[in-house]
């Protein structure tokens, strides 16, 4: 019969390998080789495992084009021609890394995240609460025919079921498509049609309407007004406003005419806003000012001064007279 010819000498494998009867590399069975390599069809590892070197995971039989996952200290190409990156890599149509909690909320790092602006899926992060429909919220980089940038957008529809969505767009170019908020690479901030430049100036204002208010008048005596209208807009701590008065019935009395601003006036210093006075009494027509004294309070401009710095009184308000007060003041914060 011959030698026993064991496969083991002590605990050492002395044959080149041991394998299952149906072993076919890449297809069936298993093999463990004397050099430490091995191939298994299916494996369960209890406890922990430690891996050194590289890990490759394929979608099906390893071949060109079906590498799904790689872990490698350096970039390279596998034996089938698939390029892999240094570190951890996900590839192909399965190139998505998903975090999923018990509630069904997901965060996906994907190469085809929703990107509305370009209507093309782009590499980015998709965030979707459980039960969400439509596009998830996303942070994506995009490159379409007219601009490139990063897009931060809310889900559509939003959790309240509204179909509208908002986004913050940071672009490398300026494509002319208005965003909710757009941060440009040159430092310009575009918000609802208003452009704030990196030097602190405002170059473009949105076409939105001014706020309106009705100025309150005191000291006018018997005067009535055809028009008593105000417009205003807040820009940081400053208020820009227009107060427009046209006198119908003439005024009376020697009281100082006062007029209100749309908001409280900062009294840390005296403030004034230019005024144009027309068709008032002699000496009270021309360029004047609405003045807010430090001793005053609230929204009241404490007096309307004539071109000669005299206080406009009720009796100076002639029928047909026009007062326009227009400019900036510091708002009391």
């Amino acid at each position: 019969m011959g030698f026993r010819s064991s496969i083991l000498a002590g605990k050492r494998l002395i044959r080149e390998a041991i394998q299952s009867p149906n072993f076919t590399s890449g297809a069936d069975g298993w093999e463990v080789r004397r050099d430490g390599s091995a191939e298994f069809n299916d494996i369960v590892i209890r406890g922990g495992s430690t891996t050194q070197g590289q890990v490759f995971v394929y979608n099906g039989t390893p071949a060109a084009g079906n590498l799904m996952l790689s872990i490698s200290p350096t970039a390279g190409t596998d034996e089938f021609g698939n390029a892999y990156v240094a570190g951890e890599g996900l590839y192909g149509s399965t190139g998505t890394l998903t975090a999923l909690n018990a509630a069904g909320d997901t965060v996906k790092l994907r190469t085809d995240a929703p990107s509305y602006v370009s209507f093309n899926a782009s590499p980015g992060l998709e965030l979707r609460p459980a039960g969400g429909t439509g596009l998830g919220a996303s942070v994506t980089a995009y490159d379409d025919s007219f601009t490139r940038g990063m897009l931060l957008q809310s889900p559509t529809p939003d959790p309240d079921g509204q179909s509208d969505f908002s986004y913050v767009q940071m672009t490398g170019g300026f494509g002319g498509v208005p965003s909710a908020i757009q941060l440009n690479a040159d430092g310009q901030v575009w918000a609802q049609g208003t452009a704030f430049e990196s030097d602190g100036t405002i170059s473009t204002y949105a076409s939105s309407n001014f706020n309106t208010y009705t100025p309150a008048i005191t000291g006018h005596g018997s005067a009535t007004f055809n028009q008593r209208t105000g417009y205003w807009q807040r820009i940081g701590p400053m208020i820009f406003f227009v107060a427009y008065l046209t006198v119908n019935a003439a005024g009376s009395g020697t009281g100082t005419v006062t007029i209100t601003a749309p908001t409280n006036i900062d009294r840390s210093t005296r403030q004034f806003v230019p005024a144009h006075l027309q068709s008032l009494t002699t000496g009270n027509t021309g360029t004047g000012a609405a003045v807010a004294f430090q001793s005053g309070s609230g929204k009241v401009f404490d007096g309307i001064r004539s071109p000669t710095n005299g206080a406009v009184m009720g009796s100076d308000l002639l029928s047909g007279g026009v007062i326009v007060i227009q400019g900036f003041y510091r708002e009391l914060i």
Partner: protein, 111 residues
């Protein structure tokens, strides 16, 4: 002549490549050795480099070839054969631990 129990062996020191060759047989005639078991082993069975070992009868070629074991550090072959003066059994070890003592042994009967 009644058969006498046969139990003989010979040692060789494996060389720097872990190789060695040993042979044994009846030294003079008309003795005949009826070998029923041929053993091969080393001084470190199952340790380090495990040598292959091939055994031959008479000539170290295909005509004399008997068997090969992957475990030349500890194995036994039960092929029966006869040895007469001038015809030895030869064991050839390869790939073992340099310096190990390899031993070829035969058991059976002799007349």
């Amino acid at each position: 002549m009644a058969d006498i129990s046969l139990n003989a062996g010979v040692d060789v020191k494996l060389d720097a490549s872990g190789n060695g060759r040993a042979s044994i047989g009846p030294a003079f005639g008309p003795a005949t050795w009826h070998v029923t078991a041929t053993s091969v082993r080393t001084s470190q069975p199952g340790q380090g480099n495990i040598p292959l070992c091939a055994i031959y009868r008479g000539t170290e070629d295909s005509a004399g070839y008997l068997d090969t074991t992957y475990d030349g550090s500890a194995d036994v072959c039960d092929i029966a054969y006869d040895l007469t003066p001038g015809i030895n059994v030869i064991a050839v070890w390869t790939g073992g631990n340099p310096g190990d003592i390899a031993t070829l042994g035969v058991t059976g009967t002799k007349e």
